[in-house]
């Protein structure tokens, strides 16, 4: 969820390797987009790690560590 024009489907479709449009969007998101302000979210715990000035803050709190 980037709030970004080149949205990606929630799951890769079958034979996604052949889908040029999808691959282009994927490449764009993986290699050409830099998140300056935002967050990373852990898919398991849901814990959000804020990103500021392009650097994600992955420090754990006292309780989490």
């Amino acid at each position: 969820k980037l709030g970004h024009p080149s949205e990606l489907p929630p799951e890769p479709v079958p034979n996604y390797e052949g889908g040029e449009e999808f691959l282009r969007r994927l490449h764009h998101v993986l290699l050409e987009v830099e998140v300056l302000e935002g967050a990373l979210q852990c898919p398991d715990s849901g814990r959000r790690f804020p990103i500021s000035k392009g650097v994600p803050n992955m420090l754990l709190t006292e309780d989490e560590a």
């Binding site: 803050n57 992955m58 420090l59």
Partner: protein, 461 residues
Amino acid sequence: RVFSPEVDCVSGKVFFRAAAGLGELRKLRSGERLFLLLKKHSPLPVSGSRGKMLEEIKSFVIEEPKYWLAIISVWRKLHGHEGRTGDDCQENASGLKRKSEEETNTASKRQKTEQVRAVVSEECQVKAGETCVAPERMSSQECWIDSKTSSEFPSKGSGENPAANEEPGFSFRVSCRCSGAIAKILTSQEIGRALGVALVRRCGWRTDLRDPDLEIFVHLNDIHSVVGIPLFRLPLANREYIKTAGLRSTVAWAMASLAEISAGALVLDPMCGLGTILLEAAKEWPEACYWGADISDSQLEGADGNIRTAGLMDKIELLKASVKALPLPSESFDSVISDIPFGKKFKTTKDAQLLPDILQEMERVLRVGGTLVLLLSQELRRHADGLTRCAGGDPADSDSGAAPAPAPSVDGNSSSSAQGGGESVLSRHFGSLVPEGVYAVSLGKTDAFIHKYRKVSAAGN
């Protein structure tokens, strides 16, 4: 790197010959400064008499003005290309190459014993596996000629020399460093002053402390006597791609070169600070992916600035994270390279336990076969040695008998630091990390040691 059939390393200096362009020489990474060697002799004989010694030194260094004019023209050719085009003189590399080859040839034909060779100084290395010897301690300081001295001799300078030998307005500075037997009789300051006076007299130059045209380096010790002039205005260690310097770029580069970075490798510095190690590595081995982590916002900002200045944003990723709890998968990196901060003394149990925690995470994220390269202080390396070598009492360790002397003293240190209670530092072994070499380096005021390890098996095996 700069192809040379003769390389001689001694006491922090590397002597070599090269028929390379200035652009190529500027790319040398592990030397602090690069000099053109003018003279190299065995140590000067030491007599008790200061006057006699000064005369010896002067006759070694000072030559006829004609000699110095030739040196100046060589120096002008070198620096002429540098000043206008900025620090990075890569233009006309082939043109420069031809020129310096010519110079090398003519210079060697010209003088009797002198040959023009390039000198790289101030990096000390020890062969892998040997206990390191601390680099030569310079007992004296650099010396600048006092500008007052030159004003006392203007009449003498201009009176003696015919016009052909004068370079009116040409300024110089003598940087003298001496140690060993000579330093017991004379200080670098005295020698530098005497040489400066003699050069003013002989060549009619003037001295300039702050921004001389030519700097003449004279190093005298028990091993050799050396005279040289710098090849570049700025030391090699000044990188045009680094905005804010942290660790010495030369040491950072050396650490990266030990890590065996290959194409497609993933390299981590979990205490990256301003990112110097990552910058040096990414510049030299750009086909790898670099990650840096630090807990300090200000350091990360500095690192970010450095990465942008160097144009390496697509090569280096930064994370705000703690080396004690890295948010990275196990066995995911090919190399971990780090300068372990050692401003603190390891007095409390908490500090002493920092190293095992750090090592544990570094070891975890490293894949089997991967390399770990650490910069450690003398104090820290004793702790590290204790952690990465099996304790002497382990019957499975057949080498324990042959273990070098430091091992018993490590036990002594570790147990005393664990006195405050809590788990003994030695209770955690890192048998999977096999030491592969120790290299002594100088950080200027202090010495440090690069330790290289390889992870040979998964932890716990």
